[in-house]
């Protein structure tokens, strides 16, 4: 509804995710293919070392976190700017093959990749 009064600030949608209602089917498929994703401790080293992330919204830590919560919509598109340079593999303290993980995420989550807005169709 449109308020009559302009308070100069508004209500933001809660970021709370109800895991009972989240659709985790794709994540289960991803975890079966890339079990290492479950080792991620969200330290953010990958995001901090990412050259692409320096110029775009790409943030692997956030993407992994959001995928575990069944909230992929906002994040998977960020992977379009990944250059597959593999710098994040070198820094990940849990030894996750992050580049391979990114490839799998794109294969599973961008399946109808014929859609133009999903980028280069990997």
């Amino acid at each position: 509804m449109t308020p009559d009064i302009n308070f100069g600030f508004g209500l933001s949608k809660s970021s709370r995710i109800n895991l009972d209602n989240a659709d985790n089917e794709k994540f289960r498929e991803l975890a079966a293919r890339e079990p290492d994703i479950l080792k991620c401790m969200a330290c953010g080293s990958c995001a901090a070392s990412c050259s692409a992330g320096n110029f775009t919204e790409l943030n692997l830590r956030k993407i992994i976190l959001m995928l575990t919560r069944g909230a992929e919509k906002e994040t998977v598109r960020q992977l379009e700017s990944c250059m597959f340079c593999g710098k994040c593999i070198l820094v990940c303290p849990r030894g996750i093959n992050t580049r391979h993980l990114i490839k799998s995420i794109r294969e599973i989550y961008c399946r109808p990749c014929a859609e133009p807005e999903t980028g280069n169709g990997i």
């Binding site: 100069g8 209500l11 933001s12």
Partner: protein, 356 residues
């Protein structure tokens, strides 16, 4: 969590609350928000319970709002606090009681810091001497005023004129208790019941006949958050936090909310109006909001004080539905009459949230 488990955790966090002889300090903002709460507290402890509570006009703000807004450094706030301790020392008291949760958190933080860094305490003593020519002793006991009402809750229950019971149904009122974050989240052992299961307000509710509601966001912040509110552009954060709490508690149909912090009742009360204007949504019964009270106001109601003497006309959310449930007698015509029957003005009615 299983109730027995909660009881065990609470028992590990029982703090010592002295019986009597307190140096009492007010909050700098509560008298504007909830003008009769502190007056009622002093009236209850002094005149109903016969305790000694000393106040001085030389007491100032603790500096908490400026400190938590990053406007002043910790040394400044510690020096202000050292001066308050000096006032207590001069008055000959050892037990310090404060009305504000922010102050309580800050006093605790300061005393803990001095324990770990005695050289900082020495520095503050030197600054205080140079600036004010004052010396101080650290209080032997620090209590929040809600600890004191908690301690005397059963004595208040014995003198009760009303109970937290719905007189029409005979059932206990369903009460949400909201504890200020700075009460025990920083130093859990300093609060009754610790940080996760603080018992300070729950104890009052149980003793006065109500039923405590457990709900998912029970320990979430009220939304005040200092900088979130002080910068207008950030107020959406504050509002959204409060919204989250109300969305979470609403399915449990609370009759009322009790709080022990200056900011919490203010924001949980006033934001209900803003949420209603923005979303057209109200959380109480029949288009009303859920009334929010300070623990002193609730103690006052239980003891039979006149609701308008407790300053309840200053609330945004109408308190009358709760007064009716408790069977409290009040004169609606006197709601906006101040001292000596002087008309204090009636606020404009909001669009959505129903008010009386």
């Amino acid at each position: 969590m299983i109730y027995e488990g909660k009881k065990r955790i609470w028992s590990e966090y029982q703090k010592e609350i002295p019986e009597d002889n307190y140096f009492y300090v007010r909050s700098c903002i509560r008298q504007n928000f909830f003008p009769a709460s502190e007056k009622t507290f002093l009236d209850i402890v002094r005149n109903r319970l016969g305790k000694d509570f000393f106040e001085t006009q030389h007491h100032t703000t603790c500096g908490g709002i400026a400190y938590h807004s990053d406007a002043i450094p910790q040394e400044t706030v510690m020096t202000i606090i050292a001066r308050q301790f000096a006032l207590m020392t001069e008055a000959g008291y050892k037990n310090y009681a404060c009305s504000c949760i922010t102050s309580f958190g800050l006093y605790t933080e300061t005393m803990e810091t001095w324990k770990l860094f005695p050289e900082l305490e020495a520095k503050i003593r030197e600054i205080l001497w140079k600036t004010c020519h004052k010396e101080f002793r650290i209080p032997e006991n620090l209590a929040h005023a809600s600890d004191i009402i908690y301690k005397f809750r059963n004595m208040i229950a014995e003198k009760a004129a009303y109970r937290l019971v719905n007189v029409k149904t005979g059932k206990p009122l369903r009460v949400v208790e909201h504890i200020g974050c700075h009460y025990a989240k920083m130093f859990p052992s300093r609060g009754v019941g610790g940080a996760e299961y603080p018992y300070v307000l729950a104890g009052m509710i149980e003793s006065w006949g109500g039923e405590v509601i457990d709900y998912p966001e029970r320990r979430h912040c009220c939304g005040f958050g200092f900088r979130q509110y002080l910068v207008k552009a950030n107020r959406g954060y504050s509002l959204s936090n409060t919204h989250k709490k109300f969305e979470s508690m609403a399915p449990f149909k609370p009759d009322m909310i009790i709080t022990n912090c200056p900011g919490c009742p203010y924001f949980m009360d006033r934001w209900q109006y803003v949420i209603s204007e923005l979303e057209g949504k109200t959380y109480g019964e029949n288009g009303y909001g859920i009334p929010v009270f300070t623990y002193e106001e609730v103690a006052g109601l239980v003891l039979g004080y006149d609701p308008w003497d407790l300053g309840l006309q200053m609330h945004q959310v109408a308190v009358e539905p709760l007064l009716d449930k408790m069977g409290i007698k009040y004169d609606p015509a006197k709601k906006y009459l101040g001292e000596n029957g002087k008309y204090i003005g009636k606020p404009q009615m909001p669009r959505f949230i129903k008010c009386c």
